[in-house]
Symmetry: C2
Subunit: 122 residues, 2 copies
């Protein structure tokens, strides 16, 4: 028996690099769906939709529950939390930019206050 | 002249789905590097490293400044901020799990307080 490997960031990012799979995740965020329901918004065969679900499943993003002939899918948030964790290291880069922009705007505001005749000028 | 298309989430996720490229981004988080510096930690040719940098560049994650024969690379955080923005929608799924776990632990704590003889039992 082959044990399923724990989902890697590689697989999670690869699974998310497709707009159909991101749309499927969004659909699942509203609740469990079967494969036909996931395929419905796309002009896509059941087999093609099932293949996309398999990629999401292998990445650990979706859990599939087999009930008779129906495969019920649900969202699994843990790999998304792992992506979030990975991103946190880089947050300072984009917040630093926003802080710099904020400081610039505040400096401009102060300049306008010191030279009231500039008010209204753009 | 072909205008560069704005980086898409597809391209950003695809670029991040490789451990070498994620390591390169991490190296760039410490400051600008040239291609040889980025290649150094991997047993990888200059050409192979340059190819990885090109993927990061096309995804908008890296900017390349050509100074004579040196290509200086720096990190561009905007696409990471876009990934963060995309993730925010799903945050409630993993925080909900943590909240549920927290509630469970608190309920167990209360049970222990109400039945002090249970204290110390695991």
């Amino acid at each position: 028996m082959v044990e399923q490997l724990p989902a890697s960031l590689d697989g999670v990012f690869r699974a998310l690099a497709d707009p159909t799979r991101r749309s499927m995740l969004r659909a699942l965020s509203a609740g469990e769906c079967n494969i036909s329901e996931l395929a419905a918004p796309f002009s896509m065969s059941f087999a093609a939709a099932s293949k996309h679900v398999k990629v999401l499943e292998n990445a650990g993003l979706v859990r599939r529950k087999v009930q008779g002939r129906t495969h019920l899918c649900s969202i699994e948030p843990a790999p998304l939390a792992a992506v979030d964790e990975w991103l946190r290291f880089y947050e300072r880069f984009w917040t630093a930019r926003l802080d710099a922009l904020d400081a610039l705007l505040q400096a401009e505001d102060r300049a306008t206050e010191n030279f009231p005749d500039r008010k209204g000028r753009q």
